[in-house]
Amino acid sequence: MDAKLFDRTDSWLKGGAGDTGHIAVSSRARLARNLGGFPFAPHAKPPALENVEKYIAEGIGRCERLGAFERLELAKLSGDERAYLRESRLISREMEQGGEHRVAWVSPEESTSILVNEEDHLRLQVVRTGLGIRDALEALKEIDAALADVVGYAWSERYGYLTACPTNVGTGFRASVMLHLPGLRQLKEIESGLQGIGHHGLTVRGFYGENSEFTGDFYQISNEITLGRTVDEIMDTLMLVVNRLVEKESEARLELFRHHESSVADAIWRSYGTLSFARRIGSSEAMRLLSMIRLGIDKGWFGDLSHAALNRLVLEVQPAHLERRRGREGKFDSRDEARAAFLRERVQAANGHHKDAAS
């Protein structure tokens, strides 16, 4: 795979995170679409999948709007490359498995990808930093319209966009926002904060998606219901709940520093100490430590380290990202050693004003 592509995959991290950036980490909007006249991918035989792929490739070829997208055949990428793209959120966990006639069309600069022959013939997705979900949706609508012109979707008046699994039928729309909620967790208010989310047709997942734990206090809020509500209604519900959580987390952090400052500060600086000096760090430990540092950034304790820079660090300590760095530098025996060395370098370099904390 083109090495330069890797260097551009994480460009979505660059955007400004806005005034909720200390809590909202990233946003992703996704549409599931299928072609009329073809069998759905999960039960389709390889020749049918091949036809679907060719039909879509031909359509994208005719589409000016999608001219800059690069075509990646998943079966031709290595497992490490696929994992890297998944960590960068350009492909899904399902696509990471590879498979014949599966293709990802990616535009790293726009943080946009079009996945072919995943569970649905087409999965279109856009990632944005911070609470950029509305922006992501606008970009997504544009891609959707461009594709609809060239391929033609499976659609019915009754059920809307028809998807392989009926859990996605209707709008085919899934919006998800990743929140960092260390304050609520430490005040033991996470459970009550997330209570009733299902009632709104929403669900919560961990950093790594389905069935993952809430590593590093990261929580992904997304809609489960896709039928019987418009895209805008789904967005409004999600934003209502997300904004309320952002508010609660802000209050929790204030409360935490007002009433428990010495123990919180102790935990944050211990995390800083470990990140600055440890020789081996596993990925979930790194997530836990970085979560604490992220909380300290609110207080301006870590100089040059911004919330955005920390989001990037969280991504760069993931296994495939780290493996690529290790391969380039070629001097570490284990991944955990490489992770510790990388974190030492970044965390020490960023800390300009840690004396402030003692004052």
Binding site: G36, Y159, V169, N211
Partner: protein
Amino acid sequence: MRCEQCGKADAVVRITRIESGAAPYQLCLCQSCAAKASPHQKKLLEKQSTYDVLLQKLMKHQAVGEFEAGGSVAEVAEEESPLTCPSCGLNFGDYQRTLMLGCPDCYESFSDVLEKDLTRFHRATRHTGSEEHKPSELANLQDRLRDARSELKSALEIEDYERAAFLRDEISNIESRMEELRTGEA
């Protein structure tokens, strides 16, 4: 391994719990404890019971079919056909097992039973939205093919062989045009 909740049945799923005051932890549970602990597992269980209801229905249906059709095997099979999608051949049982449909037409083919699932997943059975939608040539052909096939069936039933021959040709024309579009050999 045994269920970590009741210690009686075999554990079949692993779920992650979040409770305040503790790190998330994992529990291996049996089906019924899992249903109590997690709405998602409950949903899966409910899906299973839809399947049972369907099986009962099918058996009842078959009995009636046999009675009315005087026990002819071929006609009983004909009576069962609503449970197979005529466009892609997917059996409703395959959907129940995998939760994946075979083709866009499956939504119409299975609409009665499927809408129970839609209610469970979405608390709704109808799409609302104002999207403009223009189908591709292929999707149009798919609709025409479906209509022609069902008309052919009725033509054969009333023994209108002239109409049937016409429809048979039309079906083969539509099919070859679809094949051209699908393989890009137009």
